[in-house]
Symmetry: C2
Subunit: 447 residues, 2 copies
Amino acid sequence: MKVGLAGLGTVGASVVRLLARRSDELAAACGRSIEVVAVSARDRQKDRGVDLSAVRWYDDPVALARDADIDVFVELMGGEGDPADAAVRAALSGGRAVVTANKALLARHGTELARLAEANSVSLSFEAAVAGGIPVVKTMREALLANRVDRVYGILNGTCNYILTRMEAEGLGFEECLAEAQRLGYAEADPTFDIDGFDAAHKLAILTSLAFGTEVDGEAVYVEGIRSIETADLDAADELGFRIKLLGVAIRAGDGIECRVHPTMVPKSSAIARIDGVLNAVAIDGDALGEIILVGPGAGGDATASAVIADLADIARGDTVPPMGRAAHRLEPYSRARMRRHAGGYYIRLSVADRPGAFAAIATRMAEKGISLESIVQRRRKAGENSRASGGDATVQPVFLVTHDTTEEAVREALAAIAADSVIATEPQVIRIERLDDTTPSAQREV
Amino acid sequence: MKVGLAGLGTVGASVVRLLARRSDELAAACGRSIEVVAVSARDRQKDRGVDLSAVRWYDDPVALARDADIDVFVELMGGEGDPADAAVRAALSGGRAVVTANKALLARHGTELARLAEANSVSLSFEAAVAGGIPVVKTMREALLANRVDRVYGILNGTCNYILTRMEAEGLGFEECLAEAQRLGYAEADPTFDIDGFDAAHKLAILTSLAFGTEVDGEAVYVEGIRSIETADLDAADELGFRIKLLGVAIRAGDGIECRVHPTMVPKSSAIARIDGVLNAVAIDGDALGEIILVGPGAGGDATASAVIADLADIARGDTVPPMGRAAHRLEPYSRARMRRHAGGYYIRLSVADRPGAFAAIATRMAEKGISLESIVQRRRKAGENSRASGGDATVQPVFLVTHDTTEEAVREALAAIAADSVIATEPQVIRIERLDDTTPSAQREV
């Protein structure tokens, strides 16, 4: 099987190296060899540590995608627009299978590309686009066919998880941990894409389509990043029995599918709470299977290349799975549940004016919206302590509330009323709580 | 695709029910319908909650396997011998694909059956045989082809994990927790197969073949069960920073492949330490991917049926993967590493005679074998305490040793010498320590 490879960054070079290293095993498992015969990349001179002397070079990835001598086009350039988009379309239209790691492209054009692949009877595979080397796409497309999926959620961005883990473990601030992540190569110079949740949102959009058989809608994901998280929140979470994770969650709700990425309070006893550092984890709730969780490296050249090669091996073996797990013409329109209707518990941190009646005013506003409180922690500041969490103002006290299940709308309205009452000094911090089973035994065992 | 199903216990009935419930989705994903047309089971009259009025009944599963009208034979009877073995062979010889959940059969005859499938150019699939509904076989056969696997390990028996979790959490004894597991349906009336490690050993034998491309050798697994674990060991583990799990481990060693099932001390910080209750978990170390861990229900009718149906869907789609991930004629002979050569740390609990020189004698014997000690805990018994761990004898004291890396041979010889010295009152408790990475960040992240 002849492969054309566009993009020779870390992942692309790993693909070339691993295909060579594992050529015997791959040929034995697939019944035919897999060989890179043509590549495109910006710089022909750069030393990538792999032998590319025998391959054809293209400057234009679209021209590579049209090379009549390749069977599969591997797209590792990234970016939701051209040239990646044009090249992938050219390959599919030309009847060539495509393997891509490009989550932005799929989040934006996934449905169209799946239709194009179907119209040309070729594969479109993208294991590497979600959670790096973890075989979550294969699991959802192939292993869960007996299941109606009710929820999929996970830690989809290693950069954010690394920063939150460090902040919690060391009691350090966000900026400091971000700088450290950049120093270690876990975060990019411009970290916006990771830190503000967009990377996780792209992955979640793909997972949502796979889980619910809906069209891919990258725009429909509600997104909050982790910039607002303070050590005060992590400390409070710890006291309240939670940890804070940037979670992507897609779940069936009353009026559609809720699809959201935001910092989330998860019970300490849950499996997802214990995923530390740059690891990724995806949990899938199927009605037959129950919950399975896949954990592993979500990034890295070889790990991601491992997923690209697994896709290539499937294609070499002749396996044909519809890109989104079901025929593209049968994908249902994505029906977005309104975020204001979101139901769940909330953690709220307020900087409350330290005067009589302030707390009564807050409690009253909450009660007016039918919000009942599960716990209230008012931590009297020690003398001399000048907490960032209270805006540094000695006349305010931080108050931590955890609500019973309520709605996003009720919380927003109550907080707007509280702000209008002028009893709080800074913007409230609001973090949604995800109810997750702990890991105590639940599955029924039988003979 | 026409299916003949032998065995209508909990899993078999779930397969029938789920195939009916998901028939539209399966047909859409696979391009053809999957239909049970014939069954065999001991009792035709029993109400299984599923409609079997339209299927042909066989009393003899071998006759069912020879039914010329079926495309796939699903074997859910269990047992390493006939009729399961004869029926599976009859189906494969007749050119029919086989899906089975029968780990005992595969551990015993896996290599031969893989060869028979290959000779007849049909699939032999067994996702349900290892870790129930968790797609570990698919992951190893398909998703990890770019990797050389260096180690696979996991919690492969939910019954044992449930009992150990309860013993640890409640401070209860083994017998009490076993009785509770039986009451809850997590353990069978005769629990030997689970408790003594044989079930985990069968699963590990299959994983070993998948991981290392070797012939399946169920007899080569070193097996210890959990009967000997006492609360004193769980308490000591907690103090020393470990938890005790019944682990199956297959790993490349100097003189072959080590393949062993035994109670294992794992660092509390490791992911595997945190898998509680009846859950299963499998960790796979690939040289490209790093470590991935799959967690989920290892048993249960619907969860296991979910795996059976995933196999059926692969076959319906026409996907053909060699049973053990590589061509059967290319499987290498299994080369067993000798257990005496096993290198690692050890936890040792001794009941030491409470007299001068006893401890010096022990330390001397350890030193003679080159064993150096990482920690020593000698817990002076409180007045009136009559610990089972010390054999109930008030003149002995429990001593807990943790060794640095040494060999099984050195430990056994040192303990034999110590026993000969008559300074210990009961059989020593010996639990191997598995060195596992904790979940701190390790993967290198790049763009």
